[in-house]
Protein backbone atom coordinates (compact mmCIF):
# COMPACT_ATOMS: atom_id res chain seq x y z
CA UNK A 1 0.00 0.00 0.00
CA UNK A 2 1.43 3.40 -0.92
CA UNK A 3 2.71 5.79 1.75
CA UNK A 4 2.95 9.55 1.46
CA UNK A 5 6.39 11.11 1.63
CA UNK A 6 6.67 14.20 3.78
CA UNK A 7 6.57 17.23 1.51
CA UNK A 8 7.76 20.15 3.49
CA UNK A 9 8.75 23.46 2.03
CA UNK A 10 10.89 24.36 5.02
CA UNK A 11 12.94 21.22 4.38
CA UNK A 12 13.41 22.21 0.76
CA UNK A 13 14.55 25.67 1.79
CA UNK A 14 17.03 24.31 4.32
CA UNK A 15 18.37 21.80 1.83
CA UNK A 16 18.88 24.50 -0.76
CA UNK A 17 20.49 26.87 1.67
CA UNK A 18 23.11 24.30 2.56
CA UNK A 19 23.94 23.28 -1.01
CA UNK A 20 23.78 26.48 -2.95
CA UNK A 21 26.04 26.10 -5.94
CA UNK A 22 24.89 22.65 -6.99
CA UNK A 23 21.22 23.55 -6.65
CA UNK A 24 21.61 26.86 -8.45
CA UNK A 25 23.02 25.18 -11.53
CA UNK A 26 20.39 22.44 -11.52
CA UNK A 27 17.21 23.87 -13.02
CA UNK A 28 15.61 20.44 -13.00
CA UNK A 29 16.10 20.01 -9.25
CA UNK A 30 13.50 17.80 -7.66
CA UNK A 31 11.84 20.58 -5.70
CA UNK A 32 11.49 22.72 -8.82
CA UNK A 33 9.94 19.76 -10.57
CA UNK A 34 7.57 19.25 -7.70
CA UNK A 35 6.45 22.87 -7.87
CA UNK A 36 6.12 22.74 -11.65
CA UNK A 37 4.08 19.58 -11.27
CA UNK A 38 1.72 21.25 -8.80
CA UNK A 39 1.51 24.26 -11.06
CA UNK A 40 0.48 22.22 -14.05
CA UNK A 41 -2.13 20.31 -12.15
CA UNK A 42 -3.65 23.29 -10.52
CA UNK A 43 -3.52 25.57 -13.57
CA UNK A 44 -6.37 23.76 -15.26
CA UNK A 45 -8.78 24.52 -12.46
CA UNK A 46 -7.54 27.83 -11.16
CA UNK A 47 -9.83 29.94 -13.29
CA UNK A 48 -12.83 28.81 -11.30
CA UNK A 49 -11.41 28.44 -7.81
CA UNK A 50 -10.04 31.27 -5.71
CA UNK A 51 -8.36 28.77 -3.38
CA UNK A 52 -6.53 26.98 -6.19
CA UNK A 53 -5.59 30.28 -7.76
CA UNK A 54 -3.99 31.36 -4.46
CA UNK A 55 -2.20 27.98 -4.15
CA UNK A 56 -0.80 28.36 -7.63
CA UNK A 57 0.41 31.91 -7.00
CA UNK A 58 1.90 30.87 -3.67
CA UNK A 59 3.89 28.13 -5.37
CA UNK A 60 5.22 30.57 -7.96
CA UNK A 61 6.26 33.02 -5.25
CA UNK A 62 7.90 30.20 -3.31
CA UNK A 63 9.86 29.17 -6.39
CA UNK A 64 11.09 32.77 -6.75
CA UNK A 65 12.08 32.85 -3.10
CA UNK A 66 14.00 29.60 -3.50
CA UNK A 67 15.96 31.11 -6.38
CA UNK A 68 16.80 34.25 -4.40
CA UNK A 69 17.87 32.17 -1.43
CA UNK A 70 20.63 30.85 -3.68
CA UNK A 71 21.97 34.15 -4.97
CA UNK A 72 25.64 34.95 -4.46
CA UNK A 73 27.07 38.22 -3.22
CA UNK A 74 27.23 40.91 -5.93
CA UNK A 75 24.29 39.26 -7.71
CA UNK A 76 23.34 42.60 -9.28
CA UNK A 77 26.94 43.42 -10.28
CA UNK A 78 26.67 46.57 -8.12
CA UNK A 79 27.89 44.91 -4.98
CA UNK A 80 24.55 43.89 -3.44
CA UNK A 81 24.69 41.40 -0.59
CA UNK A 82 23.02 38.04 -1.08
CA UNK A 83 19.81 37.66 0.97
CA UNK A 84 20.61 36.26 4.40
CA UNK A 85 19.04 33.08 5.67
CA UNK A 86 17.11 35.11 8.26
CA UNK A 87 15.61 37.43 5.63
CA UNK A 88 14.63 34.44 3.46
CA UNK A 89 12.99 32.73 6.43
CA UNK A 90 11.17 35.91 7.44
CA UNK A 91 9.86 36.26 3.88
CA UNK A 92 8.81 32.59 3.86
CA UNK A 93 6.88 33.19 7.08
CA UNK A 94 5.06 36.23 5.78
CA UNK A 95 4.22 34.37 2.55
CA UNK A 96 2.72 31.57 4.65
CA UNK A 97 0.60 34.08 6.56
CA UNK A 98 -0.50 35.78 3.35
CA UNK A 99 -1.40 32.41 1.85
CA UNK A 100 -3.69 31.68 4.79
CA UNK A 101 -5.30 35.08 4.39
CA UNK A 102 -5.76 34.62 0.62
CA UNK A 103 -3.92 37.88 0.01
CA UNK A 104 -0.73 37.24 -1.90
CA UNK A 105 1.78 39.77 -3.20
CA UNK A 106 2.40 40.20 -6.90
CA UNK A 107 6.15 39.69 -6.70
CA UNK A 108 9.00 38.61 -4.47
CA UNK A 109 12.34 40.26 -5.34
CA UNK A 110 15.83 40.43 -3.89
CA UNK A 111 16.71 43.84 -2.49
CA UNK A 112 19.79 45.74 -3.59
CA UNK A 113 20.05 46.83 0.07
CA UNK A 114 20.54 43.17 0.99
CA UNK A 115 17.42 41.21 1.81
CA UNK A 116 14.10 40.26 0.23
CA UNK A 117 11.10 42.43 -0.59
CA UNK A 118 7.51 41.56 -1.44
CA UNK A 119 5.48 43.88 -3.66
CA UNK A 120 1.73 44.36 -3.84
CA UNK A 121 0.38 46.33 -6.79
CA UNK A 122 -3.08 47.46 -7.72
CA UNK A 123 -3.79 50.13 -10.30
CA UNK A 124 -1.31 52.91 -9.42
CA UNK A 125 -0.82 51.78 -5.82
CA UNK A 126 2.17 49.89 -4.49
CA UNK A 127 2.69 48.27 -1.11
CA UNK A 128 6.21 47.15 -0.35
CA UNK A 129 7.51 45.09 2.57
CA UNK A 130 11.24 44.53 2.83
CA UNK A 131 13.09 42.18 5.14
CA UNK A 132 16.66 43.41 5.21
CA UNK A 133 19.75 41.43 6.14
CA UNK A 134 20.41 44.07 8.79
CA UNK A 135 17.22 42.94 10.58
CA UNK A 136 15.29 46.07 9.63
CA UNK A 137 11.77 45.63 8.29
CA UNK A 138 10.50 48.44 6.08
CA UNK A 139 6.91 48.90 4.97
CA UNK A 140 6.28 51.47 2.24
CA UNK A 141 3.02 52.40 0.53
CA UNK A 142 2.91 54.83 -2.34
CA UNK A 143 1.11 55.92 -5.47
CA UNK A 144 1.76 58.55 -8.09
CA UNK A 145 -0.24 61.27 -6.35
CA UNK A 146 0.62 61.32 -2.65
CA UNK A 147 3.75 61.29 -0.55
CA UNK A 148 4.88 57.77 0.32
CA UNK A 149 4.07 56.36 3.72
CA UNK A 150 7.08 54.57 5.24
CA UNK A 151 6.85 52.60 8.48
CA UNK A 152 9.59 50.74 10.31
CA UNK A 153 8.48 47.42 11.76
CA UNK A 154 10.01 44.45 13.55
CA UNK A 155 9.92 40.72 12.78
CA UNK A 156 7.42 39.92 15.50
CA UNK A 157 4.14 38.17 14.75
CA UNK A 158 2.26 41.30 15.83
CA UNK A 159 4.10 43.42 13.28
CA UNK A 160 3.50 40.81 10.57
CA UNK A 161 -0.23 41.10 11.25
CA UNK A 162 0.05 44.89 11.30
CA UNK A 163 1.91 44.94 7.96
CA UNK A 164 -0.69 42.68 6.31
CA UNK A 165 -3.56 44.73 7.66
CA UNK A 166 -2.05 48.06 6.55
CA UNK A 167 -1.19 46.84 3.06
CA UNK A 168 -4.54 45.15 2.60
CA UNK A 169 -6.43 48.31 3.56
CA UNK A 170 -4.24 50.49 1.37
CA UNK A 171 -4.34 48.22 -1.68
CA UNK A 172 -8.00 47.27 -1.60
CA UNK A 173 -9.63 50.57 -0.71
CA UNK A 174 -11.01 52.50 -3.69
Amino acid sequence: MPAIASFDTAYLAKRRLTSRSRELTAPTSSSRKVFAFFGGLIAEDRSTSKFLQVEREYQELWTSLELYANLANNWDSYGAEKPSRASVEATAEILGRLREELFLPNRVVPSSEGGIAVYFNKDNKTGYLEYRNSGDVILAMYDNQNDPSIIELTRTDADKSKAISLIRSYITED
Partner: protein, 247 residues
Protein backbone atom coordinates in the same frame (compact mmCIF):
# COMPACT_ATOMS: atom_id res chain seq x y z
CA UNK B 1 -36.39 15.31 0.97
CA UNK B 2 -34.59 16.80 3.95
CA UNK B 3 -30.92 16.00 4.14
CA UNK B 4 -29.09 15.30 7.37
CA UNK B 5 -26.71 18.21 7.96
CA UNK B 6 -23.05 17.27 7.91
CA UNK B 7 -20.73 19.11 10.24
CA UNK B 8 -17.12 18.59 11.25
CA UNK B 9 -15.45 20.82 13.85
CA UNK B 10 -12.28 21.00 11.76
CA UNK B 11 -13.94 21.02 8.36
CA UNK B 12 -11.28 20.62 5.67
CA UNK B 13 -13.28 22.67 3.13
CA UNK B 14 -11.14 25.39 1.59
CA UNK B 15 -13.69 26.53 -0.96
CA UNK B 16 -17.25 25.64 -1.88
CA UNK B 17 -18.76 26.81 -5.16
CA UNK B 18 -22.25 26.84 -6.64
CA UNK B 19 -22.19 27.80 -10.32
CA UNK B 20 -24.86 28.04 -13.00
CA UNK B 21 -24.00 28.30 -16.65
CA UNK B 22 -26.46 30.03 -18.98
CA UNK B 23 -26.62 30.55 -22.73
CA UNK B 24 -24.63 33.67 -23.61
CA UNK B 25 -26.64 36.80 -22.93
CA UNK B 26 -26.62 39.87 -25.15
CA UNK B 27 -23.68 42.21 -24.52
CA UNK B 28 -26.22 44.99 -23.90
CA UNK B 29 -26.86 43.28 -20.53
CA UNK B 30 -23.43 44.48 -19.42
CA UNK B 31 -24.88 47.94 -18.90
CA UNK B 32 -27.46 46.47 -16.53
CA UNK B 33 -24.78 44.50 -14.72
CA UNK B 34 -22.95 47.77 -14.09
CA UNK B 35 -25.68 48.63 -11.58
CA UNK B 36 -24.73 45.64 -9.42
CA UNK B 37 -21.78 47.20 -7.51
CA UNK B 38 -24.08 49.83 -6.02
CA UNK B 39 -26.69 47.25 -5.06
CA UNK B 40 -24.31 44.90 -3.26
CA UNK B 41 -21.71 47.32 -1.94
CA UNK B 42 -22.66 46.87 1.72
CA UNK B 43 -21.77 43.16 1.70
CA UNK B 44 -19.49 42.97 -1.36
CA UNK B 45 -17.58 46.27 -1.47
CA UNK B 46 -14.82 45.11 -3.80
CA UNK B 47 -15.46 44.45 -7.45
CA UNK B 48 -13.47 43.83 -10.59
CA UNK B 49 -14.23 43.38 -14.27
CA UNK B 50 -14.01 39.90 -15.79
CA UNK B 51 -12.62 39.64 -19.30
CA UNK B 52 -12.45 36.83 -21.79
CA UNK B 53 -9.32 36.78 -23.94
CA UNK B 54 -8.97 35.10 -27.30
CA UNK B 55 -5.72 34.49 -29.12
CA UNK B 56 -5.84 33.19 -32.69
CA UNK B 57 -2.82 32.02 -34.68
CA UNK B 58 -3.17 31.04 -38.32
CA UNK B 59 -0.68 29.74 -40.84
CA UNK B 60 -1.69 30.19 -44.49
CA UNK B 61 -0.14 30.61 -47.96
CA UNK B 62 0.41 34.29 -47.17
CA UNK B 63 2.35 33.44 -44.04
CA UNK B 64 1.43 33.38 -40.36
CA UNK B 65 -1.16 35.70 -38.88
CA UNK B 66 -1.96 36.28 -35.24
CA UNK B 67 -4.69 38.24 -33.53
CA UNK B 68 -5.83 38.84 -29.98
CA UNK B 69 -9.16 40.05 -28.63
CA UNK B 70 -10.36 40.80 -25.17
CA UNK B 71 -13.95 41.42 -24.18
CA UNK B 72 -15.74 42.24 -20.98
CA UNK B 73 -17.98 39.35 -19.88
CA UNK B 74 -19.04 40.40 -16.39
CA UNK B 75 -18.00 41.33 -12.89
CA UNK B 76 -16.61 39.69 -9.78
CA UNK B 77 -17.56 40.86 -6.30
CA UNK B 78 -15.75 40.17 -3.06
CA UNK B 79 -16.72 40.61 0.58
CA UNK B 80 -14.52 42.76 2.85
CA UNK B 81 -12.91 39.70 4.44
CA UNK B 82 -12.45 38.05 0.99
CA UNK B 83 -14.26 34.93 2.23
CA UNK B 84 -17.23 35.30 -0.11
CA UNK B 85 -17.06 35.96 -3.83
CA UNK B 86 -19.61 35.97 -6.57
CA UNK B 87 -19.42 36.38 -10.30
CA UNK B 88 -22.15 37.80 -12.51
CA UNK B 89 -21.29 37.08 -16.13
CA UNK B 90 -22.94 37.03 -19.53
CA UNK B 91 -22.50 33.25 -19.52
CA UNK B 92 -23.43 32.51 -15.96
CA UNK B 93 -23.18 33.01 -12.26
CA UNK B 94 -21.10 31.56 -9.44
CA UNK B 95 -20.89 31.94 -5.70
CA UNK B 96 -17.77 30.97 -3.75
CA UNK B 97 -17.44 30.46 -0.01
CA UNK B 98 -13.88 30.19 1.27
CA UNK B 99 -12.76 28.78 4.63
CA UNK B 100 -14.13 28.85 7.23
CA UNK B 101 -17.16 27.12 5.76
CA UNK B 102 -20.06 26.90 8.17
CA UNK B 103 -22.69 24.64 6.62
CA UNK B 104 -24.83 24.03 3.55
CA UNK B 105 -27.78 26.24 4.57
CA UNK B 106 -26.05 29.64 4.81
CA UNK B 107 -23.89 28.82 1.79
CA UNK B 108 -26.83 27.79 -0.36
CA UNK B 109 -29.04 30.63 0.89
CA UNK B 110 -26.51 33.32 0.05
CA UNK B 111 -26.00 31.79 -3.41
CA UNK B 112 -29.76 31.75 -3.89
CA UNK B 113 -30.12 35.39 -2.79
CA UNK B 114 -27.41 36.52 -5.21
CA UNK B 115 -28.79 34.36 -8.03
CA UNK B 116 -32.16 36.08 -7.62
CA UNK B 117 -30.46 39.46 -7.79
CA UNK B 118 -28.59 38.36 -10.92
CA UNK B 119 -31.82 37.16 -12.50
CA UNK B 120 -33.59 40.38 -11.58
CA UNK B 121 -30.91 42.32 -13.43
CA UNK B 122 -30.29 40.15 -16.48
CA UNK B 123 -33.89 39.05 -17.04
CA UNK B 124 -34.80 35.72 -18.65
CA UNK B 125 -32.00 33.21 -19.01
CA UNK B 126 -31.66 29.77 -20.57
CA UNK B 127 -29.77 27.61 -18.14
CA UNK B 128 -27.32 25.05 -19.52
CA UNK B 129 -25.92 23.31 -16.46
CA UNK B 130 -25.07 23.79 -12.82
CA UNK B 131 -22.24 22.61 -10.63
CA UNK B 132 -21.44 22.20 -6.97
CA UNK B 133 -17.80 21.99 -6.03
CA UNK B 134 -16.11 21.29 -2.70
CA UNK B 135 -12.37 21.77 -2.53
CA UNK B 136 -10.91 20.17 0.59
CA UNK B 137 -7.40 20.02 2.00
CA UNK B 138 -7.01 17.00 4.27
CA UNK B 139 -3.99 17.51 6.49
CA UNK B 140 -2.46 14.24 7.71
CA UNK B 141 0.83 13.20 9.33
CA UNK B 142 3.65 12.42 6.89
CA UNK B 143 5.21 10.06 6.29
CA UNK B 144 2.01 8.09 6.59
CA UNK B 145 -0.14 5.63 4.68
CA UNK B 146 -2.77 6.91 2.28
CA UNK B 147 -4.98 3.97 3.13
CA UNK B 148 -5.17 5.17 6.74
CA UNK B 149 -6.99 8.31 5.64
CA UNK B 150 -8.58 7.72 2.26
CA UNK B 151 -10.69 4.97 0.78
CA UNK B 152 -9.97 6.18 -2.76
CA UNK B 153 -6.30 6.43 -3.68
CA UNK B 154 -3.90 5.09 -6.32
CA UNK B 155 -3.09 1.40 -5.87
CA UNK B 156 0.35 0.14 -6.82
CA UNK B 157 1.78 -3.35 -7.12
CA UNK B 158 4.30 -4.32 -4.42
CA UNK B 159 7.11 -4.27 -7.01
CA UNK B 160 6.69 -0.49 -7.29
CA UNK B 161 8.29 1.92 -4.83
CA UNK B 162 5.68 2.50 -2.15
CA UNK B 163 6.70 6.00 -1.08
CA UNK B 164 4.63 8.57 -2.95
CA UNK B 165 6.29 11.95 -3.52
CA UNK B 166 3.20 13.29 -5.21
CA UNK B 167 0.35 12.05 -7.33
CA UNK B 168 -2.48 13.38 -9.36
CA UNK B 169 -5.61 11.29 -9.58
CA UNK B 170 -8.68 12.31 -11.48
CA UNK B 171 -11.77 10.15 -11.69
CA UNK B 172 -14.96 10.96 -13.58
CA UNK B 173 -18.04 9.02 -12.55
CA UNK B 174 -21.55 9.28 -13.97
CA UNK B 175 -24.30 10.17 -11.52
CA UNK B 176 -27.98 9.52 -11.88
CA UNK B 177 -29.99 10.52 -8.87
CA UNK B 178 -33.73 10.76 -8.79
CA UNK B 179 -33.99 14.45 -7.90
CA UNK B 180 -30.79 16.01 -9.17
CA UNK B 181 -30.88 14.10 -12.46
CA UNK B 182 -28.03 12.99 -14.69
CA UNK B 183 -24.65 14.35 -13.86
CA UNK B 184 -20.96 13.75 -13.56
CA UNK B 185 -18.69 13.89 -10.54
CA UNK B 186 -15.03 14.61 -11.10
CA UNK B 187 -12.87 13.70 -8.11
CA UNK B 188 -9.36 15.08 -8.14
CA UNK B 189 -6.63 14.33 -5.63
CA UNK B 190 -3.10 15.65 -5.38
CA UNK B 191 -0.71 16.80 -2.66
CA UNK B 192 -0.42 20.48 -1.82
CA UNK B 193 2.57 22.15 -0.17
CA UNK B 194 2.28 21.62 3.57
CA UNK B 195 3.87 22.23 6.93
CA UNK B 196 6.82 20.06 8.01
CA UNK B 197 5.77 16.57 9.12
CA UNK B 198 2.43 16.78 7.41
CA UNK B 199 0.90 16.16 4.01
CA UNK B 200 -1.99 18.18 2.67
CA UNK B 201 -4.17 16.09 0.37
CA UNK B 202 -6.30 18.04 -2.05
CA UNK B 203 -9.70 16.37 -2.40
CA UNK B 204 -11.64 18.28 -5.03
CA UNK B 205 -15.17 16.98 -5.61
CA UNK B 206 -16.84 18.63 -8.58
CA UNK B 207 -20.48 17.76 -9.34
CA UNK B 208 -21.78 18.84 -12.72
CA UNK B 209 -25.41 18.40 -13.82
CA UNK B 210 -27.24 19.19 -17.02
CA UNK B 211 -30.05 21.72 -16.59
CA UNK B 212 -31.21 22.71 -20.06
CA UNK B 213 -33.67 25.55 -19.83
CA UNK B 214 -35.06 24.56 -16.45
CA UNK B 215 -37.03 27.18 -14.50
CA UNK B 216 -35.51 28.61 -11.32
CA UNK B 217 -37.62 26.59 -8.89
CA UNK B 218 -36.59 23.32 -10.56
CA UNK B 219 -32.99 24.45 -10.77
CA UNK B 220 -32.78 25.09 -7.02
CA UNK B 221 -34.58 21.85 -6.19
CA UNK B 222 -31.91 20.07 -8.19
CA UNK B 223 -29.16 22.05 -6.48
CA UNK B 224 -30.59 21.20 -3.07
CA UNK B 225 -30.73 17.54 -4.01
CA UNK B 226 -26.97 17.49 -4.63
CA UNK B 227 -26.34 18.17 -0.94
CA UNK B 228 -27.09 14.54 -0.09
CA UNK B 229 -24.99 13.25 -2.99
CA UNK B 230 -21.94 15.33 -2.13
CA UNK B 231 -22.20 14.38 1.55
CA UNK B 232 -22.46 10.69 0.71
CA UNK B 233 -19.40 10.73 -1.53
CA UNK B 234 -17.34 12.88 0.82
CA UNK B 235 -18.01 10.59 3.78
CA UNK B 236 -17.33 7.49 1.71
CA UNK B 237 -13.96 8.85 0.54
CA UNK B 238 -12.59 9.05 4.12
CA UNK B 239 -11.59 6.37 6.59
CA UNK B 240 -12.84 6.48 10.20
CA UNK B 241 -9.37 7.77 11.17
CA UNK B 242 -9.69 10.72 8.79
CA UNK B 243 -13.18 11.49 10.06
CA UNK B 244 -11.80 11.45 13.61
CA UNK B 245 -9.07 13.91 12.63
CA UNK B 246 -11.53 16.48 11.35
CA UNK B 247 -14.17 15.98 14.03
Amino acid sequence: MATEPLHFEKAPIREAIIAVQVHDLSTSILEDLRTLPERVKSSYPQHAELHESEFVGQVGPQGPKASAHQKLIGFQFQSTDSKQIFQARLNGFSFHRLAPYESWAPFRNEAFRLWNLYREIVGPVKTVNFSIRYINALVVPAPGKLEDYLTVFPQMPPEFPQMVRNYHMRIELPLDDQTSGEGLVTITQTLLPSEPGTASILLDNYFLYAAFGVPDDVLWKKIDAVQAVKNRLFLAAMTPEMKKRIS
